[in-house]
């Protein structure tokens, strides 16, 4: 588990963060290879076949079935890997463990309030035990907000007149940023 963060990703402090980052880097490295091929070949062709002097007839090459099948099938396989991988982790993010500790979250312009099962509450700061799944039962008093903790890789919209649910399990002790990510007006932060 990477608790210091990398160039691309913030530190990871939840049980699912490792899975999310793994897929992120898989896509990143695959993309870098494809990008290097596209741009490298374009630059190479542009240089090698640059125009020298008068206009001439050029090669009539306009298709190559084997090559076209290759560049259709390989990306299809790659995106299917990404799809299945992404979906599996997504289900982990969405299925709340049975023994989760339930906190009621209310979003409004412009603060969060948290109600704990023992009866306490807090404003703009959620205090949770480490190594225990936390279930968030969320609701909004006015417009749509969104609950986002980058270090936990967790995000869920908070809607008026409807409950939305998400969960996370922190793996280390510390203070982490909580952001609202659905635009809600002047105090959106």
């Amino acid at each position: 588990m990477d608790t210091t963060g990398t160039f691309w990703m913030p530190p990871s402090h939840s049980t699912i963060a490792g899975d999310v980052d793994g897929l992120f880097y898989f896509i990143l490295y695959t993309s870098v290879i494809i990008f290097a091929l596209v741009v490298g070949l374009s630059a190479y062709f542009a240089f090698k076949y640059r125009r020298r002097g008068e206009a001439v007839k050029t090669d009539g090459l306009d298709h190559n079935v084997k090559l076209e099948i290759f560049w259709t099938v390989i990306p299809t396989i790659l995106v299917m890997i990404v799809f299945v991988w992404g979906f599996k982790t997504y289900m982990k993010i969405n299925v709340v463990p049975k023994d989760a500790y339930e906190i009621k979250v209310t979003g409004q312009k412009w603060f969060w309030s948290f109600d704990y099962p023992e009866g306490g509450n807090s404003i703009n700061e959620i205090v949770v035990p480490v190594d225990k799944p936390i279930k968030l039962l969320m609701d909004s008093k006015d417009v749509i907000h969104s609950f986002f903790v980058p270090d936990f890789r967790v995000k869920m919209d908070v809607l008026p007149n409807r409950y939305s649910i998400t969960w996370f399990e922190a793996t280390s002790v510390g203070e982490f940023n909580l952001f609202c990510t659905e635009f809600c007006g002047k105090g959106h932060s």
């Binding site: 913030p10 993309s31 050029t58 809607l159 008026p160 105090g187």
Partner: protein
């Protein structure tokens, strides 16, 4: 020596009235050029002001309310008044009829009407700008948009009206392509630009009414409180998101397909090389147009939609990626064994391949469900869609503008300045937006006026990039306007290209052709025909 012909479409009739009542597709293209570029300038100024404010984490010179209005107006103006109409209404209007050997579009008066409707829609948008602004974001999400006190009604009414302008253009192109192709020009002998415009037109006609209905419901919600979207009246705010993206996702392809269409023309004309995979490119345009209708839910992975819906939308999303990828591979293969000239349009084409590849590949991150949960509504998204919309569509549009500029006006711009400007825009763009991928992945949410100190270096670098870009754009405005007065005459065919528009004079005569043109070679038969560039005669 090349000479400008004595009479052409620009001087055959004189006076303001002849322009305001014109039914000539070329003149309507020019009317659109000036009006759309005006709004591109306005939207661009908002962008520069926003980036300037974001130089520091705290308030620099505008309040949060003003900031929220600025990003809303930047988005709404750029989307509805610039990027949706830009390519079809300016370049499509100007070259599509000539490319297929027609004297005009099928419904010239409807074409002029679409411009007037555009102006009326634009006036509504301007009204909301001067009457206190709008602060909802260009997406107008409910219930924020139904409860804010700003002028939401006039801007949504503006977008509603602009929709009709878009539908009229689309309808016109569909009928024109079906009915007015010259003898011998079968579907698979059409230039790929026409294929791209045709696929775009299908989306414009089929998807835009949904936006109209959605915005009409939003307006009624605000005016008479019908309670479709407002949860306080038992409505469903997420329903608005479904309706909105049912149009706005296909609309992404209304924006990018025309850009792709231009690339196919430029990459062949400036490499004198037959296009690789003609049918694959033509069919992939239709494939993208179709698939664009069934992926809207990928904008809503965190909205609380069911896991099953999210899974299906994620799966389908990856099938839009495949035809886009195929197009890019075909363009790269087209360069192989070509005769590549480093003209300004070719530089834009290479810039497109670079930037659009990044835009497309970062879309894969967002299509993957678990990764999207983390990246949704952060600067990663902002960077992704700017790479697709600016790096893709706008770069292609600017390339196309430089490609057909000598045809429009009969004169060449200063190529050295054009290449410098292209370079500044390319470098400035990457500085501005690549940094946004990094800070987005690190958790910086979008639409924040004040932000955490840790993101400061990224924001500052991004702002410097936007200044470089702005310089590039001002330079472009300078040499393009200057070329109208003292640019060198370009001759009929400055690029030595084979499509029809290069066979007529520059600027073209009023009715395009004296005789019906007959196709004796394909649009990309550079292996059979050599067309000499008329620029060398200068």
């Amino acid at each position: 020596m090349n000479k400008i012909p004595d009479t052409h479409y620009l001087n055959c009739k004189k006076g303001i009235k002849s322009w305001l009542t014109t039914v000539d597709h070329k003149r309507i293209g020019i009317l659109y050029l000036f009006s759309i570029m005006f709004f591109f300038f306005v939207g661009g100024m908002f962008a520069v002001l926003l980036r300037l404010e974001l130089l520091t984490p705290n308030e620099l010179y505008i309040s949060s309310d003003t900031y929220n209005q600025f990003f809303t107006l930047h988005g709404a103006i750029m989307i509805f008044l610039f990027i949706i109409p830009a390519i079809p209404a300016i370049l499509g209007n100007f070259v599509l009829p000539i490319m297929i050997g027609a004297k005009d579009v099928a419904f010239p008066r409807l074409n002029l009407a679409s411009w007037y409707i555009y102006i009326v829609g634009a006036l509504f948008a301007v009204f909301s700008l001067v009457s206190g602004g709008v602060d909802t974001g260009w997406t107008f999400y409910t219930p924020y948009s139904t409860t804010t006190t700003t002028s939401v009604i006039s801007i949504t009414l503006g977008a509603f009206i602009l929709g009709f302008s878009s539908i009229f253009t689309g309808l016109n192109f569909i009928v024109t392509v079906h009915k007015l192709r010259s003898p011998g020009m079968t579907w698979f002998k059409m230039p790929l630009f026409v294929w791209g415009m045709y696929a775009t037109a299908l989306i414009q006609v089929l998807a835009t009414p949904v936006l109209g209905i959605t915005l009409a419901l939003l307006i009624m919600e605000r005016l008479i409180g019908i309670g479709i979207f407002d949860p306080a009246m038992g409505g469903d705010p997420v329903l608005f998101q479904h309706f909105f993206w049912f149009y706005s996702h296909p609309a992404v392809y209304i924006m990018i397909l025309p850009g792709m269409a231009i690339i196919s023309e430029m990459i062949t004309a400036h490499s004198h090389k037959k296009i690789f995979g003609y049918k694959a490119i033509a069919y992939s345009s239709l494939g993208i147009a179709f698939a664009s209708f069934i992926v809207w839910g990928h904008h809503m992975f965190t909205s609380g939609q069911s896991e099953l819906a999210a899974m299906i939308f994620s799966f389908l999303t990856f099938f839009v990626a495949i035809p886009s990828g195929i197009k890019v591979f075909n363009w790269v293969a087209t360069l192989y064994k070509g005769s590549i000239a480093f003209t300004t349009p070719m530089l834009y084409t290479l810039a497109f391949l670079f930037l659009f590849s990044i835009g497309g590949l970062t879309g894969i991150f967002l299509g993957a469900l678990s990764v999207d949960i983390h990246l949704h509504d952060t600067y990663f998204i902002v960077a992704h869609f700017h790479y697709v919309m600016v790096g893709g569509t706008v770069i292609a549009f600017l390339g196309g503008l430089h490609h057909w500029w000598p045809k429009m006006w009969g004169r060449m711009y200063n190529e050295t300045l054009a290449k410098i400007s292209c370079g500044l825009i390319f470098v400035g763009f990457n500085m501005t937006f690549f940094t946004q991928f990094i800070m987005g992945a690190n958790g910086m949410p979008r639409r924040y006026h004040l932000y955490d100190e840790m993101y400061r270096p990224f924001h500052a670098f991004s702002t410097y990039g936007s200044m470089v870009m702005a310089v590039g754009f001002f330079l472009m405005a300078y040499y393009l306007i200057r070329s109208l007065y003292n640019g060198k005459p370009a001759g009929n065919n400055p690029w030595g290209a084979l499509t029809y528009e290069w066979a007529v004079s520059s600027p073209p005569p009023e009715h395009n052709f004296d005789d019906i043109p007959i196709t004796d070679h394909g649009p990309y038969d550079y292996d059979k025909v050599v067309a000499k560039s008329t620029l060398t005669e200068n």
